[in-house]
Symmetry: D2
């Protein structure tokens, strides 16, 4: 028996974030996975259902039942679609479990949530108790949390790239913020849709949810804590590939700044962060440099011709944008080394 | 014999734009291709060299020799790398030929050219005589031209999307213009480089020539003719696919405008343009909707929350962004129906 | 009015073969498309539904109704899923129309059909009247046909590659025939399935319907007409791309043959075929060499070490493997030039 | 200091196998990487040269110098191109080091090598001392080896799939063996070539080195040890993706066998092998099920209609086909747990 290991459950283990959670947790020395559940109704051995998840010979995909989850687990990751995930996270948390919810359900006040997500919010009490788990910026709160709202993939990429600049007062807080963001299709989840077919998306690129992406208010509310008082125009676009978020942000500083100012603002915050690389001026991040890892790479350039500051950031939407950051939070919550199970290098090429 | 057909030569017939020229011209009822040349030194039957160019059984790839080109052709497309193309275009044009140059060599005044292209410019006289062939906006000049500087791929996508707005005074002429542009890798040409390998670029995305892309001054100088007096920040990024340019432009109008104003500005210019589709509000272009065709699709959205106007445009970089527009200009120059050989629908999926 | 044009309808105009039919037919000088129908229940302008099908401003996608199809059309292409397509094709044909059915419904005797397709066959009378439209091998029958069963995509690639060898008695007729075939995902149709999503199929490759693909009996019965008396093992595998069939066939000749024998057998049949290229020994076909065109390229190698003859063939599954060959048959049936509307070169790159 | 760790060098650290070695070794608890070298002439910090290899802040890419390699390392992986790699491996081995060579240089007797590789072989003495490191079949020899010839990627996939069948006498030893193999492009290495560009290989598929792939004699000579006395026809084909080998083998058993016989032969050998999964009849491997992992999945089907046995196998060419198996051998040679640093699950999707 693994008496000294945390007994962990994954709810939503067949979605892409769930699969990535399994992949990461299987490397974790202080974790034993004791429960995997999804929306399926027939039970089936996990390794039969998912041949790319070998080695969990003892696990069976089950249909979620709260009493079993509660009995078998100390901590749970809930990675179901928004609208269903938060409710289950709340149920488990109220039963005294440590819970990390990967959906958008616990990230926004109810009124804002309902405006952008177009379905009913969970009870406000839950949202109030949930700590927004942008680990590098909320480490102290996460450490004491028992319920974490894991950040969205776009939100993580934008916030890691821009929080240092607002926090350092380098950029004008009221100016509308323009973010041109691109994502691999795994961010859209595992449900089969016409738009996500290879025949449609291969050799394609397009914007979706234009002006209406639900990470918009999440980013605005988090940036506000660093002084941002404007509005965000977040353009989300689909790349013909599977993994990765690439963000290009454009800001027009109102007082003159140069590359050294920007570099200082980033290093001030990230010098000792193991998962963040800040490129020197003239070097820029690439999507594939972080694929399969929990890393975020950031680059920037102050364009003297136009006076516009460009900031680029990349991460793997299923890792630092979802499952990786969730495990990072789990580690902080349990007092484990923050990088436990997350040290894997990017898969290149 | 095809006495009444225009005898056409293609210089640079092995590059991607050259191959696309062959594909288009093979459908042209008033054209006979009489000469194909490249940088090769061994002559070889074209259909052996390029199995995807069947049906030119009479043609041999030759090494370019001006006297032969002049003797055999009435009109020539020159699609060589910048730095070599314009010189040859000039040589042929001075010999009395109708010439369309697909490189950047004839698009900019010498000083500006040398600043952005980092090699010597052609003689200014040539540039002065060359008409910038953005067909929809220069039809009358092209009609009388014998030397055309065919626009760049990014430039075509940006100009078609933004000229109507500046021309209609809908957007502030001094404001820095932010254009986030994405391209398939065929735009980088056929030369083998590490960065364009499938193992590197597949599942990847990144910015290149950040703040330094040579289409920047081309776009600025053309937009200036519609009143633009600002500077452009053009961010060029590489998509993990072969064909297509996708442009996202961001402008902050200073007086209140709405979707109807924008729609009017576009339709005013493009209502009767056969190769341009302007989407209704709420519909947006996709890269693949135009692949393999000479079309440009445009969409837009006035974001009331931030006051930012987004404009999207897509085209196939080898067609409307190169060979297609070149043939369109050729048709105008010769008085043929403008869409001759260009009516092919996009290849979907 | 286009009184002298054939009034053509496309049933199944939203599927990939249907879209390709529209693309090809739009270039046909003797065709006017008068009817497009599918399984949809709301009518919608075609160019709104499919932005990649511009230029059909007069056409509306309709829900199929036989009386309207019959009234408006002289000839019809039916490109619905097997199980539904043949029945409609029969209905229209019995009403006196010229009909080309792109499904598998009319290609096999009923008993064989039901064994491999797992749903009921159409009436045998229909199958008996339908001419199997492998144009290069059935031109004379097609010329007199009013009902054509258009061959399957895998079947076309295999038959064009192997019929010449069986017909020339170069290969042993009883030997089991091994065909290792690969297809782009568009061959699986437009229905959204988990397996055809980019996140699943990108960077993937696998066999499907192993030993059970329904083109197996189609190929066997057609090869039998050239003397084949064995059984076919057809392995169908999915490529991480959109278009194309690539076939690798392996045969062990029992009497010694060499490359010249094989070349002779191919050229004997295909020397004057405009859509077929037979590569010289040492040159091999590539999927992309034919993409977007109605062409089939064939290569081969007699391996002296093992005594095995390898034959490779490629085609675009939506063109020569479906819509292109259908139009080729249409041309033959109407006495038009066989290549009318089919002269487009491959889209490369 | 890491006195109790093995000091490891990687020669060829910039190639794809080298990068994968670094990724794997970075997770190894008993390894410290003390030397990385390549063909470069300027030294540069590894993490600057390869942003996807963060965390090696102490390492500098150096130009290979034997005396430094010998001084700094206990064990070395040599992953240079064939023709250069074996010689260096020999040099280091003769200096008393533990050496694993990933090239083809030590896998074949000299005469055979020169026939298939078209350059001079290393000294026969080296080949004689090198153990062919197909771990699952040579564990005992590897355990005592100090010089290992790591198997080729195609060879590993074919041998793991077929050795059990020949060893069990299930398939006729003299029959020519037909193997239709497909590989992602990373197998071709990192050198930029026209054929490996995304614009050429994307949406493409084709055979290369037809009948001439250098893994042919490697496979034949290894199969011979299990009784194979025939010849192999190995068809190698390039997939439009980055990683993975997919093998389809076709054999015609001469005495009747069924699925149970095949299953028994596989399980007899692989029941306890942690890196090998044998699928039950009716389930087949997929390329992506093993990507990024050291696993090999095998499936098969006895086709009763034709009497042909199909066998499929998949692996990641950079892992089990190169760097992963190399580390597996390293572990066996050093008496570490065989799966040390190799437990990572496949990256899916």
């Amino acid at each position: 028996m693994n008496r000294d290991k945390v007994r962990v459950g994954v709810i939503g283990a067949t979605g892409y974030s769930g699969v990535e959670l399994m992949r990461i947790l299987s490397q974790h020395p202080h974790v034993v996975i004791t429960y995997v559940a999804g929306n399926h109704h027939e039970e089936r051995a996990l390794s039969l259902e998912h041949p790319y998840l070998p080695g969990f010979s003892n696990l069976t995909m089950e249909t979620y039942q709260p009493e079993i989850a509660i009995e078998r687990c100390d901590a749970l990751f809930v990675a179901l679609p928004s609208g269903r995930s938060g409710e289950i996270a709340g149920e488990l948390w109220r039963a005294g479990k440590v819970v990390i919810d990967l959906s958008g359900d616990l990230r926004l006040p109810g009124a804002l949530y309902e405006q952008w997500y177009a379905h009913p919010a969970v009870r406000q009490e839950l949202v109030d108790h949930a700590v927004y788990g942008l680990t590098e910026w909320r480490r102290d709160l996460v450490r004491q949390a028992t319920l974490v709202a894991n950040p969205g993939c776009y939100a993580t990429a934008v916030l890691l790239a821009l929080l240092p600049l607002y926090a350092a007062n380098l950029v004008p807080p009221e100016q509308p913020l323009i973010v041109d963001a691109k994502s691999g299709v795994s961010g859209a989840g595992r449900k089969a849709t016409a738009a996500s077919m290879l025949a449609e998306l291969g050799e394609n690129f397009y914007a979706y949810k234009v002006g209406q992406h639900q990470h918009t208010p999440e980013i605005e509310s988090q940036l506000a804590q660093a002084g941002f008082r404007g509005r965000l125009l977040l353009t989300t676009q689909l790349l013909p590939c599977t993994r990765g978020i690439f963000v290009s942000a454009y800001i027009q500083p109102q007082s003159p700044i140069d590359d050294a100012d920007v570099q200082a603002a980033f290093l001030n915050r990230y010098r000792d962060e193991p998962f963040i690389t800040v490129h020197a001026p003239g070097e820029y991040p690439q999507l594939k440099h972080v694929r399969g890892s929990n890393r975020c790479h950031i680059g920037y350039r102050m364009d003297a011709r136009t006076g516009v500051l460009q900031v680029f950031s990349v991460l793997d939407n299923l890792q630092k944008g979802a499952a990786g950051q969730a495990v990072q939070n789990f580690n902080v919550m349990h007092g484990f080394a923050e990088g436990e199970a997350l040290a894997g290098l990017p898969v290149y090429p």
